[in-house]
Symmetry: C2
Subunit: 340 residues, 2 copies
C-alpha cells in the first residue's frame, strides 16, 4: 500500500484521472467555465481533496499573457502612493487581476529593471505614475519599448504624447474652483498658492488650474503670492513661511497637495499664527494623515475608486477603448475640516 506522502504538485491530469474526464474538461471547469453539473461537482470536489493548486506559470507560458498589472511608482514613502495602490488593489480584486507594484526610488535603472520584470512576467498591462522623481522626459525610451511590445500602458499624472498611450490627469480647474468657492464662503479672498515644481505636469496642471479658477472667481492674483518649489513637507513649510512673513500676507493658502499643506501648517505654527483664525490652509488628495494633522486639514478627495476603475479598464485587454472616462473624473469632493 502506497504511503500518502506529499505529492509534489497536483495537476489537472491527476484530477482528470481520478474523475475519469479529460484534462481539458478539468481545466475548463476550474477556470469557471460551464460543464455538466455532475462533472462540475465531481471535479471541484476532487480538486479540493487532492489540494490542487493551479500553476500560474504554466498558464502564462502557454497563453502568452498573465492577469497581472504592473504598477510603477517612485516611492512608498510619499503617502500619496499607498492610497493610489490600495485603490488599484481593491479594484483589481473584483476582476481577477493582480497588482504588481514596482518601486523605483526615483532611480532610472530601477525603473528599467521593474519594467523588464513586468515584461518578463508578461503582464497584461502597465500603469506608470509620472511624478517629480521621473518627469516625462525620462520615460521616452521606456515607453517606446513598452509600445513596441504592444503592452497596454497608461501614464498617470501626465498627458501623453504617444497616440498609443493614454495619459491621465484630473480636472484640476474644477478642483481649484471648489476650493476657492469654499474659501470665499468662509470669508477668505486673499488667497496664496503653494505648489510643486512646474516642470512636472501634474503640478503644473494644478498651478494652471489655480490661475484659471482665480480668474473665474474674479479674484485678484498677486504673483508674489504664488510660489512653487519642491513638493515636500519641507518645501511646503519654506514656501508658506515666505508667504506668512510678508507684511501683506494672504488670509488663505491653497497647497497643491496635502504634503505641502502639512508643511504649511508647520509654518503657521512656527509663526504662531492661528489656523484657521489668521490663516486658512487647504490641501489636495486627502492622504490618510490629513485627517490627523493639527488642526485637521481641509482637502479635496478625488474619486479614487472610480479612477482606479478607469485605469484598470484602460489597461486590461478586455476593457480597453471604453472611453467613457472624462465624465467621471470630475467628481471631486471637498472635505471641509478645521484648517479653513
Amino acid at each position: 500500500m502506497p504511503v500518502a506522502c506529499h505529492p509534489m504538485t497536483v495537476t489537472i491530469y491527476d484530477i482528470a484521472k481520478k474523475t475519469g474526464v479529460s484534462p481539458k474538461t478539468v481545466a475548463r471547469i476550474l477556470n469557471g467555465e460551464s460543464g455538466r453539473p455532475k462533472n462540475v461537482e465531481k471535479i471541484k470536489r476532487v480538486a479540493d481533496e487532492l489540494g490542487y493548486i493551479r500553476n500560474k506559470s504554466a498558464a502564462t507560458l502557454r497563453s502568452g499573457k498573465s492577469n497581472s498589472i504592473g504598477v510603477l511608482i517612485s516611492s512608498l514613502t510619499n503617502p500619496f502612493y499607498p492610497v493610489f495602490l490600495e485603490s488599484l488593489y481593491s479594484e483589481a480584486k473584483g476582476r481577477n487581476l493582480h497588482i504588481i507594484p514596482g518601486v523605483t526610488f526615483g532611480d532610472m535603472e530601477n525603473l528599467r529593471e521593474s519594467v523588464d520584470l513586468f515584461i518578463e512576467s508578461r503582464v497584461a498591462g502597465i500603469i506608470a505614475s509620472v511624478d517629480e522623481e521621473h518627469p516625462l522626459e525620462e520615460w521616452e525610451d521606456v515607453v517606446e519599448k513598452i509600445i513596441k511590445l504592444k503592452i497596454p500602458l497608461l501614464l498617470a499624472g501626465a498627458e501623453s504624447k504617444w497616440k498609443e498611450v493614454p495619459g491621465f490627469l484630473g480636472d484640476e480647474t474644477r478642483t481649484m474652483t471648489l476650493i476657492i468657492k469654499h474659501l470665499l464662503e468662509r470669508g477668505r479672498s486673499n488667497i496664496g498658492f503653494v505648489g510643486g515644481p512646474l516642470h512636472v505636469q501634474g503640478h503644473k496642471s494644478r498651478h494652471d488650474g489655480f490661475l484659471k479658477a482665480m480668474d473665474k472667481a474674479k479674484l485678484k492674483q498677486r504673483p508674489s503670492w504664488i510660489l512653487t518649489g519642491e513638493a515636500s513637507v519641507i518645501g511646503g513649510e519654506q514656501m508658506a513661511l515666505k508667504l506668512l512673513q510678508r507684511k501683506n500676507r494672504p488670509d488663505a493658502i491653497i497647497c497643491s497637495n496635502d504634503i505641502l499643506a502639512i508643511g504649511a501648517i508647520r509654518a503657521a505654527h512656527l509663526e504662531n499664527l492661528d489656523i484657521p483664525g489668521q490663516i486658512a490652509i487647504t490641501g489636495i488628495d486627502d492622504i490618510p494623515l490629513s485627517e490627523f494633522t493639527y488642526p485637521e486639514l481641509t482637502t479635496v478627495r478625488q474619486p479614487r475608486a472610480m479612477m482606479a476603475k478607469v485605469m484598470l479598464d484602460t489597461v486590461s485587454p478586455e476593457t480597453r477603448n471604453k472611453n467613457d472616462r472624462r465624465e467621471m473624473l470630475s467628481h471631486v469632493q471637498l472635505i471641509a475640516r478645521k484648517s479653513s
Copy 2:
C-alpha cells in the same frame, strides 16, 4: 521577401540559431554563468540586437520555483507598512529577488486569496506581518497550508508556535530602556504609557518591554498611567487625553508606536499643553511623517535595512538557516527630536 513585422517573442532558440551555439549555452550565458569569452560577447550582442526578453513563466514552470517573495500586509494606509515594504524592496534588489506585496485590508478572504496567488506563482518564500488586523489566531490554517507545501515562511511581528516557521520580534525591552534613559536625561520620571491592544503580540511585547525597562530603571509604575487600546491616531489621542486630564498627570508619555504618538500630540494640543514643556511625547518606528509633526516627534528607529536583510535571508532558499540574527536586531537607535 518576408516582411520584418514584430516577431512575437524572441527565444533562446533564435539566439542559438543566429550564433551557432546550442540553446543551453545561450541560457547559461544569459543567466550570468561562465562561458567562452567569444561566445559570451556574441550571445549578449545578438540577444540585444534581437530584443530578447526572457520568459519568466517558462523558467518558473520548468524549475518549479521563482525568485519572487510574497509579502503579506494588512494595509498600506498604515504608514508603518510602506516603510517595511521599501526596506524589503531595497534589500531584494541586490539579490535578484522580487517582492510581491499582497494587501489584505484586514480581510481573511483576501488573505487567503493572496496566499493562493503566492502559491500559484511558486514564490520562493513568504513574509507575513502579524498585526491587529490579523492576530496570530487567524493564521492557523494558512500557516499550515504553507508549511505543508514547504514554502519558507516568516512571521513578522510575532513569535511563532510552529517549529518550521521562524517568528520575528524586535528587542522591545532594549528599545524601551533607551527611551526611558532619554526621558530621564531630560528630567522626566513620571512616565505614562499608551500602547496598542495586548492581544496582539507585537503590542504586548512593547507593553511588557516598557514594564521591564521601568523596573530596571527603578521607576515607580502607576497602573493608572498605563493605557492600552486601539492602535490608531484616534486611539492614541483618546488614551493620551485620559492621561492628560488626570489631576496628577505624567510629565512624559511613551507611545508604543508613532501612530499612537501622533494621536497623543493632538491630545496635548487639544488640552493646550506645551510639548515638550509640560508633556514629553515619544513614539517608536520613525515613520516618515514623524519628522513633520508639530513638534517633531522623538522616536526610535529599528535597524530596518538589517531587518529586511535578515527577513530575506530567512525565507530565501539559498540563505536559510543562517541564524546570526539575534545579535543584530538590538541595534535600535533613538531619534531625539523636539517632542521630548
